[in-house]
Every structure is written in structure tokens, then in C-alpha cells.
């Protein structure tokens, strides 16, 4: 069994033990993840790489509590996620995880400011009177102060992704998970988004990014490579400042 654990001595924020995920029926079983073991600590910037169908997104879904394992555990600060009910997982996710999607997935009928406010209203951890200033502050941080009241469709791809990152941060989560956040963006915008994600680790956030792009390996603390549902390599990189 290969162990891919964090090298620092900080307590594990996230621990994945013997994780398996299979799809389909007994006669047509598809193994999406096979015996994954991984620990993640606070403030890490991790990339999960691999070809299409390697199991990257499935692993991300497990970490985000969007899906449940067929076998094994995903532990968040010692708490097994699969033991939570769907509602408890939703509440947990709202409080501890922020998710950024490849296609942004902003609610198209709400302005970007309202997208943030909606996320806060679902989770209800940010006091009511702090929601608006917090939303404005987050959108300012990602450079969208001038676009607060615009609908997502009025923004460029990069702007939408920055808005999605701001939304993911709305409830001040400890982990930020991004599924191909730059896959749909041009090179320049992708650099900006990656820089933004990297800056979050400095604020103590743990950021997990699924990506195809190996050119930015040096920007991450760790790069975990998946192939056929298994971790085939994990490298600790020397981050470019």
C-alpha cells in the first residue's frame, strides 16, 4: 500500500485511508478509485493530475463530500464524512469546503454579489449584518469590485472564475477544492487564477486543484498523479515564489 502523506508535522486536516470507488453493476464494474491513501495538512497547495478518466474528479468529489466511498474513509479532522447524512454533509461542506468548478457554475439569474450572498444564506455561519460587506470585500480581493451587480453572463470567463472563487470563500472554508479551474481559460487568465489560488494558501487555506496542466507543477506544494484510479506518483515541488 502506497502512502502519500504530507511531510510537515502539522496535524492532518484531511486523511484518506484505503479509499475505493466503483461504479456500475457487478458484471460491469468500473473501478474509479483504487486504494487511495492521502493526508493533507492546513495551508497546503496540492495539485491532482492525471489523464482523462484517471479518477481525479472522483477523488475530488470524495474529498468534498459530494460522493461517498465504496470502501475506505475520508476523514476531516478525524470525522468520517461518509458517516454524515446528506444534509449534515451539505452543512459540513458549506462550513469547511469551498468548491470551484471548471465551468464556473454561477447561478445565472443572480448577480455575482447575490451569488455570494446566497451561499452565505444557505450556510448561515456569517452573521447577517456582515454578509454584504464580506461579499463586497471578497469580490474586491478578486478584482471584481466594479462588477458586483452584473449577472454572470455579463462577465468574461476569467472574471466568472474569480467570482466563483470568491463564492467558494464566502463562508470562510478551510479547504478550497477546484476542479479544472483554469481548463476553460486562456493562458494569461489561467495564470491569474492560479496566482489567486496560491495566495489563499498564505491565508491558511488548503487548496486542492485538479488539473491537466503539468506546466505549473512548480507552483504547488505537492503534485499527486493518478492513473487508472490509483496514485502513481507524488512529488514535493520547490514552489516558485
Amino acid at each position: 500500500m502506497t502512502q502519500f502523506h504530507s511531510n510537515n508535522n502539522a496535524p492532518a486536516l484531511l486523511a484518506i485511508n484505503g479509499l475505493h470507488k466503483t461504479f456500475g453493476s457487478a458484471d460491469r464494474l468500473y473501478k474509479a478509485l483504487v486504494d487511495i491513501n492521502l493526508t493533507v495538512t492546513r495551508g497546503e497547495f496540492i495539485a491532482i493530475v492525471g489523464r482523462s478518466g484517471s479518477g481525479k474528479s472522483t477523488l475530488l468529489n470524495m474529498i468534498a463530500g459530494l460522493d461517498t466511498p465504496s470502501n475506505g474513509d475520508v476523514l476531516f479532522q478525524g470525522q468520517a464524512l461518509h458517516r454524515l447524512s446528506e444534509n449534515e454533509r451539505a452543512r459540513w461542506r458549506g462550513q469547511h469546503v469551498g468548491i470551484v468548478f471548471q465551468f464556473f457554475q454561477l447561478i445565472p439569474t443572480l448577480s455575482i454579489l447575490e451569488n455570494l450572498l446566497l451561499a452565505m444564506s444557505f450556510v448561515n455561519v456569517v452573521p447577517h449584518e456582515q454578509r454584504y460587506p464580506r461579499a463586497v470585500s471578497l469580490l474586491t480581493e478578486v478584482g471584481l469590485l466594479n462588477h458586483l451587480h452584473k449577472l454572470p453572463s455579463a462577465l468574461s470567463g476569467g472574471e466568472q472564475q474569480r467570482a466563483a472563487i470568491a463564492r467558494a470563500l464566502a463562508n470562510d472554508p478551510q479547504i478550497l477544492i477546484a476542479d479544472e479551474p483554469t481548463g476553460n481559460l486562456d493562458q494569461h487568465t489561467a495564470d491569474q487564477i492560479n496566482a489567486l489560488l496560491a495566495s489563499l494558501t498564505k491565508q491558511g487555506k488548503t487548496v486542492l486543484v485538479v488539473t491537466h496542466d503539468r506546466d505549473r507543477d512548480d507552483q504547488y506544494d505537492r503534485v499527486i498523479e493518478l492513473r487508472d484510479g490509483q496514485i502513481v506518483g507524488a512529488s514535493r515541488t520547490q514552489k516558485v515564489a
Binding site: 444534509n87 450572498l117 446566497l118 452565505m120 444557505f122 463564492r167
Partner: protein, 787 residues
Amino acid sequence: MMQWRKGWRDLLAHPGRTATVLFALVLGLWGMGTVFVSYVVMHNDLNENFLRTEPAHLVLTSADFGRLDIERVRQLPGVAGAEFRNLTKVRIEIGPDQWIPLWLYSVPDFAASQLAHLNYQRGDAIPPRGTMLVERNGLLIADIDIGRQPRIRIGHEVMTTLVSGVTFDAAQPPSTQESFIYAYVSPQTYADWTGQQTPQRLIIRFADVASANDVEPYQKALTEQLSAWGIRTQTARLPGFEEHPHQWQLNTILFVVFAVGCLMFILSAVLVNQLMKASLAQQVRQIGVMKAIGAQRRQIITLYLMSLLALGAIASTLAIPLAVLCGKAYAQFVSGILNFDVLTAHLPWFTYGVLVASGIGMPILFSLGTVLRGTRISVVSALYDYGVSVPLTLRIQERPARARGPVLLQLAQRNLRRNRQRLGVTLLSMALGVAIFNTGFNVRQSLQTLLDDVATAIGYDVQVVFAQPLAETEARALFTNLENVKTVQSWAGGLGLLQSDALSTESGVGVIALPYDDVMLNLPLVSGKWLSGQPEEVVFNEQALKQFGSPKVGDRLPVTINGDTLLLTLTGVVKQLDLPKIYVDQAYFNQVINHSGDINTLSFQAVDNRYDAVLELKQQIERRLLSSEWPVLYVVSEAERVKVIFDHLNVILSSLIFLSLLVLVVSAIGLASSTSVSVMERTREIGVMRAMGATPTDIFRLLTWEGLLVSLFSIALGLMLSLPLSAHAAEFFGLLMLSEANALSFQFSVSGLWITLLFTVGFGWLASRIPAQGATALSTRDALAYE
């Protein structure tokens, strides 16, 4: 707040879809609300009109009433009111050589009647001597408004009268249906016109009676008391207890209205449910995103329920005032036909309560299941949902290419099978609409067949009914040398209500004494045989049979006519659309009871029985009668008699067909919504097809094929459903409108079939055309980018 905003914005983001849902809701609520409001308004009002007149419980006739002090009757225990109210049935001229019956009442006190009150309408409230008030419904069939001077014929005298006022007698059946006029005069005028100086008819109302059974002991006590005072009563009649004579019509209309209202409610609920399902299907990915950013299921459910609440509130705001307006208008329309006043000025609060609860609750109630299911989807499934897919259950039959038919047709039928549940619901609701619409026509056809049977049973073309019996030779002499006459036949007694009054058994069953071999009446036998000319034979119609306690053919029965009791043998039972009637051989009748051989009715068979020729014969007869001294009740052609029966029932059947059409329209809107939802779901797919080279015409044809296929399947299913439904409906309406003895038999309306086909295919075409136009209006680029 933010969740409200999301729900609201979702509604605004797809104005077309929101408008479709709103339209369905408004239509369903309007339809259901209209029938509910009209039900609330009408269900009590006809009888309330009737009861407000304080109708008589007992009607007595006697030649001795001139000697009776009415105050003594009023003092008797249990009597709430008593009045002499003479009645004579005469005739009134409503056009050149056109005379119809006039029921002329003498009212002793117009200002303070004790019972059977009249409602003042216009002109004089109390008619001056020599003038009369006419019942308002009569104005719809004759030009007899205030100031008119119609001629009336009383006995052999024709006199010119003056109409001085219009009144409303809520206790009378409508003139429009009966072809009678009702008029009211003072006792002086009555005496002047009829020559009857003394009262001969007494109407009484009792206190503390709850049913006809309660009236009977009072009747017995009263007749005994009258007898003790030396007053001999000739007839005693108990009118239908506290029930308007045409209450049955309203009951039937209310039933139809209620049933159709329920159906419309169900159909629109199905429609809303389908639309919500489709709407939610489009929101799947957003549900996934919301869950991913921390929303709990409860919160998402609340969000969608709030959208539904908003939709319900908007729909209620639009539909409820419309429903109240239309419900009241429909009640007004029916009240006009049945001649009663709408008394419900203000709807009770619960009506609004039910409407608002339906408006708000219907979309929530019928979409809750869909919302619960839609929000149960796992986050991953929701996030990776890419809209409509092909179910694994879709099986494509492999057949040789040449046998497959047009490719668009094939694609259309496969598309329909992609969402089988929706197809099933759409098909079922449309088929239900088709079945009900077609049933309306079939029941109408059943009635038409019944009327044809009536027409077949009647062998005469024109019938003259005299007010009093007269010698047959004299009656016949009056009509010698008439043109276009083949045969003339005479009867004692006759068809209809008035003749039951003229000659009847002690219990009020009409008697018709006619030659046993009479060709003027060919009633179908239910059992036994027709009269054969033997003495002591009697034939009953089914209604009379019931009244006599359902005796068997061959039984010997005592029958009292004009005070003489005969012991007769029941030889046969006939089917007839009339009041209870019994038939005896005229020769035997003349021998044992009618020694003078007097007759009441003359029937004429025409050589040329085309409508115009019969009308001309009728006018010739009227001219002869005018110059004669004989008092006539009415002259009626066979076509008119059939029309009178038809008019009684047509209002109900027309309502049925109109309301059935509404059901079909709602079903068609269901189809339109279903197609438009299906088009919305496949917008991107349509974009792909166009990118592959499909022309807008191809897309248009494909969607039209889909609509037409649903219509055709619905027609097939609906027609199959309509067969048992029509059979049951014919039986049910026959019982409700006519009697057990006159149950309508199932008939299939061929014209109804064509109309159903035309409407359904037309609606189906329209229902797919509108969304198809929307689909082709979108550019390929926009269709491909559609979320």
C-alpha cells in the same frame, strides 16, 4: 430573502416557460373557479326563488267553493295560508293563426297574497279591471309586453285584452320550454272574461310540514272538514313538495358543472405537475451547485416552494376575479333559461377561501412530489446532468430500411418515447378530454334517437286538443274539406299535462281512450300486447305502471275514472316519453263511462307531411277553430311536440358539450405545454441537428409530427374510453332528466366523431405549432449555447 430572490429571478429568467405555467394555472383555476362559483350561486337559488313564493302544498277544486268562507279554512289547525286562485287554461294569439296555451289565474289579493306570491317586475302591480299581468318569461316567446293587446280565446269567444304589467312567478316552469303563457287577473276580470263568478280552485299551504307525507293527514282532515261543511271536493292535487318543477334540470346542470369542474382541476393539476417537472429538470445542475456550496435539501425545497407560491399568488390574482365574473355570468345565463333570479348577491367567504387555497395550494400540492424527487438527486448526479437523455429502456426495432417510413416520423415517435411518463400523462389527459368531448355528442345522439322514437310513435301531424269534451260528430264537422288531410282520428283524453288534467284516474294518471286500431299512436311495447278491442283491456305506459305499484301483465286492476271504478286487465306496457298515461279502447270506454261518446282530441294525418305543408294545415285548422264556438286548449304539430321535449333537455346537453369542449381545450393546452417543455429540453439537441444541416422546416415538421402523433394516439384511446363512458352517461342522464322508464340508450354519434377528430387534430397541430415556431426562431448558435 436571497432564496426568494433566486426563486423569483428563475421565474423571470424564462418568461416563456413561466408564462406557460402561469397560463396553465390561470386556465385551470379559472375553469374550476368558474364552475365552483356558478355552483355556489345556483345550487340553492332556483329552489330559494320557488320557496320564497311560499308555494301551495295542496290544490283542491270544487264547484261548491262559492259557499265556502275562506276565513274558516284559514282558521283550521295547521293551515298557514289559503286562497282561492281560479285557473283556466285558454289560448292566446302570438302571431297570425298562431295560438298557444294561456294559463289564466285569478288572484284575489295581489298586494298581500297569503301564499303562491308573485314578484312585481314592471307596470301595474295590481292589474286594473279588464287587464292582465303576464309572467316575464312569456315575453321571450311572444310580443306581449306592457301596452300590447293580444287576443285571447276563452271558450268560443275571442277577446282583445290589455297587458298592464309584468310579474315573475318563480313557481312556474319556464314559458320558453313549455310554450305556455301565464297571466294573472283580478277576480272581477276573471269573472268578466270566463263567466265564472265563483271560486272553484283552492290552494292551501300548511305549517310545520317537512315532506309530502306530512301533507297527507292534513289533506284528509281538510277534505273531511270541507265535506262536513257541505263542500264536495272534485280533485285534490299535491304539487311536488317544496321543489320547483324544473329543479331536475338545474340538478343535472349542476352535476355536469361539478363533474367537469373537478376534471378541469385534475387536468390542470397534471399540467402544472408536468411543467414543474420539466422546469425542475432544467434546474438539476443548479440544484447540484447549490448543494455543493452548502445548501441543504430543506433549503432547496423551500426555495422552489417559494417559487410555486409566487406562481400560485400571481395565478390567483389573475384567475380568481375572472372566475368570479364568469361563474356569476354562467349562473345568470342558466337562471335566464330556467327563469329564476340569482339571489346570491355576495359570495360566501368560504368561496373565496376555497379559490385562494386552490390557487396557492394547487401548484404546491401537485408539484411537491416533483420538488421532493428533484431535490433528492445526489450532488454528483446533479452536477454532471446534461439535460435530456435517451432512456436505457428505449428499444429500437430493427427493420428493413425501406419499411421504416419517413425518417422524421420515426424520429418523432422515438422522441415521444424518450420520456414515457410524460407521454403517458399527456396521452391520458388528452384522451380523457377526447373521451368526454365525444361522450357529450354520443349522449346528445342518444337523446336525438329517443326523440326520433317519439316522432315515430306519433302518427299524426297536427293535433287539436279541446278544453272540454265535445261530440265527435260536431268536432269532425268543423274540419270537413280541409286540404292535405289523409285521416282524422278522435280520442277521449290525450297526450301531455293538460290532457291529464282533462281526463284522468282518481290518482291523476292521464287516460286516453282511443280506437284500439288507431294509427295515430305507435308506441313500442315493453311487455304484453296492445289493445285488441276486447272489453276491460288496459295498456299502461311505464310511468303509469310505476304509479300503480308495478303490476304484472294479466293482473286485474281497479281503475277509478270520473267517480266510476272499472276492473281492468293489464294487457300490455308501452314505452313513452310522457306523463303517466293509461290506454283503453274507445268503444269500451264509451260503453262504460263516456256514454255521450264525447271526445277531447282530434288528430290529423297529412297527405303531404313536409314541414311547410303541415304548418299550412295547422293554420287552416286554426282558422276553422277561430270561426267556431269550440273551446280549444291547443293545436300542436308533431314537430312542435318533439321540439318542446327537446327544448327541455337541450339546455343540459348544450352545457355538457360546451363544458366538454373546455376539458378538451385544457387537455390541448396540456399537450402544448408538454411539447414546449420537450422542445425546451431539446433546444441544444435541436441546435446540433441544425448544425448538422437540418433546416428550420425539418425541425418544424419533426415537432408537428410529434404533436400529431400524440393527438392520433389520444383520439384512439379517447374513443375507446368514450364507449363505456357514453353508455354509462346515457343511462345516467336518462335517469336524471327523464325517468327510469325513459333511460337513454347508448348511441354513437358519427357527426360527433368527425367533430372530435377535427377539434383534436386541430388542437394537436396548434399545440405543436406554437412551440415549434419558438424552436425554429432560435438561431443555431443560440440553440447550441442554450443552458
